[in-house]
Structure formats: C-alpha cells, structure tokens
Amino acid sequence: MITIVLRGIFCKLHIVCCIKQVPDTTQVKIDPQTNTLIRTGVESICNPYDIVAVEAAVKLAEKNGGKVTVITMGPPQADSALRDCLAVGANEAILLSDRAFAGADTLATSYTLSQAVKKISATEQVDIVICGKQAIDGDTAQVGPGLATRLGFEQITYISEVISASKDKIRVKREVDGGSEIIETKYPVLMTVELELGLPRYASLPELVRSVRQEVKVWGAVDIGANIEQLGLKGSPTSVKEIFAPKTRTGGAVIDAQGNGVNQFLDTFFQKEPEVVKEIWGGGA
C-alpha cells in the first residue's frame, strides 16, 4: 500500500531489463558429439536486442523519472555484458550466477529470472520489465513471454516504438504480420523489443568510468529463494534432439523471357515432372 501511495506522488518508474551474454557471431560451431554449442574462443557480447531494451528503459527513466536495474543469469564472465548496460545508463546491475543455474532451458531460465524480479520488487516495486525479443544464439523468443506469465504481468511483444508513458500506463507500437498495432496497458507490464526501437548511445567518458567502477551484485539460488528442482538442467524438460545446419540452397534457373526461353523451360519441366502434368491435365491426358 505504502509503495503505491508513494509512487502516486513521485511518479517514478522502476524498470528491470533482462539481458543475456551471447557469442559474438551467429555462426557458432556445434560439437558433433554432444550437439551443444562450442562457445570457447568466440568473443562474448551483450545480446544486441537486449542492449536496445536497456537503451529504451534508460530513455523511459530519463523522461519520466525512475530507475533501471539490469539482471542476467550467466557465468561470472557475464559481468562484462552487465557493465556494457551500465555504460548505456542503467543504474544497477545484478548477476544471477550459481552452478545450480547451469544448463537451463527457457522454462528454467524464466523461472530463475522471475524469482529475481520478485526479489527486486519486494524492496522496490517493479513497473516494467523489458527483454530483447530474442537472443541471437537461440532465437527462441520464449523467455520474455514465459517470464510475463510467471510474474502475472501484462505482456506486449515485438515493440518497435514507445509512444508515451505516464505514471501508471504505457502506450506502444508493436509489429505484427502485415502491419503494426498500437496498444496501451497499465503496469506492471513486460515488453519485448525489436531493434527498430533505437541503437544504444555511445557512453560519455564519465558514464563509462562509472560502469567500470560500479559494484555488480551477485545472487545465487539461495538469494532468490529458488526451488532447486526448477533450476538449471534439473528444471529443464527441453532436450535437444538434433542440431544441424540448414542445407545451403542452390540458386534457381534463370529463364530468358525474351526469346524462346519460357517454352523451352516448360518443355523440360513437364518432361522431368510427369506427376505435375498429370495433376494439371488429369489422369486422362
């Protein structure tokens, strides 16, 4: 009750961004024996969609007053991805790191993140959670929606523009097949964002220095009060059956439409594909 009243007076937004550290390439190698991604030797970066999410959050906080907290679940090295977010203007960073988290699929990941958001919310109520629409190393786009469901937040995916925001509601544009829609909703809300939302700023030197110096909190399974059974490999029902690279397609034939090309093409095509001929002309042709 008290927090709600206070928020009414000060109109401050608390935004949490969930980010992920990913290998700096979409062409990661696959270990043929275990069918898992080989990440060693590949540089790690903050997932491009996520850094866009952070920039959007920082802009919202700058306009409306408020604070941005970034969280990530990952190994200790993920610290550097969090610092990239601090440089863009996030106020606080928390690393969820614990052996128990390792091997998580999207179900276990959204569980872990939801526990962390709940813990953050217990001291400073969270109004908005922003995630990138997907991670470039998995492309599942499941964690955001999973997290919204677990938190019981409204969810709006594929956001390309924030139109307006006030102390209790936000209006955004989202991309859908064949167009876009404009949606308005009350907080708390979880949004996943598209790259169109805007590139992250180039940090000033003082901001960068702050990002290097600032303390990053580290939380383990106990800190977020998680049920061990729902974490990491244990809590992950997904199993990868097979990983393969899609076959490269050979280019199609080019038909010379000026001369006799079309006729020639149709002749050879019908010769090669008698079933098609049958289908077009019926069995009796």
Partner: protein
Amino acid sequence: MNETFDVAIVGAGPAGISAAITLANAGIKTVVVERGEYPGAKNMSGGVLYGHDLGQILPDFTKIPGFPIERNIIESRIWYLSKEAGISVGYRDSIFAGERKQNVFTVGRAKFDRWYADQARKKGALIVPATVVLDLIRENGRVTGVQTGRADGDIHAKVVLIADGVNSRLAVTAGFRPDVKPEHVALAVKEVIELAPEIIDQRFGVSDGNGVTTEILGAVAGGMDGVGVLYTNKASISLALGANLADFSKTKLKPYDLIETFKKHPMVAPLIAGGKSLEYTAHWLPEGGYDTMPKLYGDGYLIAGDSAMLFNAPHREGSNLAMLSGKMAADTIIEAMKTGDFSAKSLSAYNTKLSESKILQDMKKYRGFGGFLYDHKEIFETMPEIVQFGGRELLTVNAESKKTKQDKIIKKLRKDMGIPRFVRLMWSGFRAVK
C-alpha cells in the same frame, strides 16, 4: 571529465599494464585508456614471455589464479630454410622443465593481456576500455593529460605514459617521435592452427605442459628480409612470418600468400598437418633498433615499450622490454611524485634506469643487426640455395668421392657469391651482434 589522476597511461599492452601495476602498488591514482573492447583485443604476438622479467612486476605470477600459460618452453630450435630444405639446430635442457620452469613460456596475448590488466585493476588502477586517445593535452609546452574520443572525454593527469605500441600516432602527432619509416618496421602475419594437445606432444616430443619454440631464418619470405616463428601453445600452434615493410612494398608480395607457401614447406607441413586455422592477424614490429629510438621523456610525459621502439629482434624480445620499460617509467614517476616535479629534467631519471639495465645495453649491442639483415639480402636468397645445394651433394650417396662433392660445393659458393663476399658477410654479421 572532472576527476583528475596522478598518471594517465595510453595503451593496455604489456608496457602500459606493467606501469599500472607498479603505480597502483605504490598507491598512485592511475588510469589506463585502451582502444580495444578489452585489453588484448587488439594485441597479437607470437606469444613468448619471459618469467624473470614478468616476475619483476608480479613476483608470484604463477600462483595468481587464472595465470594463462599455454606451454612451458624446454627447447629452442633454430631453422635455416631454403625453399625445399632446411637445417635444424635445437637446444633442450631438463633444467627448464624443473628448477628454471617458466623461464620462457607461451601465452595467447588476448587472454594474457586481459588477465594482466585484471591484476592492475585488482590493485586499484582504473582500466578504461573501448576508448581511443585522440591527442595529448598540452599546456605551456608540457603534457597535462589526454583527450579521448568520448563525450566529456578529457582526462587531466600530472604525467602521461605513452605506451600505445609500435604505430604510435600520439607520439608522432605530438612531434615526440618521427613518423615510422617502412624500413624500420616489419609487417608480421600470424596464423593460429588448432591441434589436439596429444598430437602436439607427440609431434614435438614433449609432455606435461611443456613445449618448443622455433625461430626460422632464410628463404621464408620470398627473398625479403624476413623471419618466421613456430610456437607451441596448449592446443594450437602459432605460426608467424614477418618481413621488412619496405621490402613488402618493393616486392608487392602478399603476406597471405607467403604464409600459405610457408605452411607447405616440408619442415613445417608435417607439424601442422590436420590442424584447423583459428585466427589470422597482422601487426607491425619495431625493428629499426637503437638508432631509431626517440627521446623517451619530456615535460610531463614518458614513452615505453614498442612505442619507444624497444625491440630486440635477434632474441625476439619485445613484450618483456615493454614490461621492464613500463616498470622503470612507473618507478621514475613514483620518485617524481615525492617532489611533485614532472619536468623533463626530473623524468630524465627514466633514461638513466634504462641505460643501466639490459634494455638499452641489449639495444646497443644489436644496433647494427636490423641494418645488417636489410642490407644483405643474400642471407634470404642466395645462401639458402647454396646450403640446399651443399646438403644435397653431401647427403646423396653416389659414385662421386666426398672430395669431388666438396669441390662442387666450394665452386658453387664461388660462383653464386664469391668467397670474399661470403667472408665479408660473416664479418659484418659478427660485428652487428658482437
């Protein structure tokens, strides 16, 4: 920005970080600005480091968690190659696997530099990555800071250490150093080839994390003044080839073609067979030697490492000279902090330190070496041919007597080079390194 520092260091390579560690140890407020995404991101080297010299900066380096050693070197080989053949000499000693372990060892620079910078950070130095220093700030003729490429990006400091590597634009722009002449630098390309550790152990006859380095001379760079190296890492081999930049522009040879040819050489091919190429990088090496060194200090600034052209080519010592010079620069600054005097006069103590150490003594000893190689292209073309001819003659068993073979070799030497020229070559070679 508003905050000021005692020392601003440009470049988080071995020179800059060694200085940062030394300064931070003394409680001096230090910032290191590095243009790479992280320290080491832009750095490349064949990857040999020297335990004694690193120990001057971090005495217990082997005990620090994550110390990123690749292999401990127990054998040094030198090859002299012709196009299709080669001579190999090696020295292996059990002392380097025991009592003098880590005398020489290989590292991957991307990993090492990052770890090394972490040590500086833990001791309190501020490392600012992904930021380019564009210029030095000067007031009344003295350096008072650096200007970076970020908004609100000026950093003011009592003294600036320029440790930005061989292609030091800063020192050149400031007029502290002449622009690099092509004949004073080598262009080196490096390829890292992945192989299973067991295969490397087998091919080089080593075990227990030990390894071998090979320095390669002769016809390795299409007749240019060039050298090659082949170093063993944990699960890869570093292969590098460098040649004088002026030669590259004269011959129009492509570094990539050279390294491809090099990989097919009968001495090289079996060692890397079946390996997969992991990375390919290019970098300069300061080979001009003592006579191309700029003045290393002035009002409010010092220069260390490659930026100061400190490189001992025949012993491929660069990173250690960078470390030691970085440390000496830091020691000089620590003394100057006591009086608050950062004038050229006060900082000239740096030069004294360098002169009294092996750095300048070695630089002087080999001052003629670069010029000697550059001026004697026969070392890279004619001589390897003669060696190959000789080897084939001596080792092919046929009807000819050994005396006949010997005469043939001498005749070939006379014809292709001439005895006086050969003797002169040996003599100037000796003088260049004596």
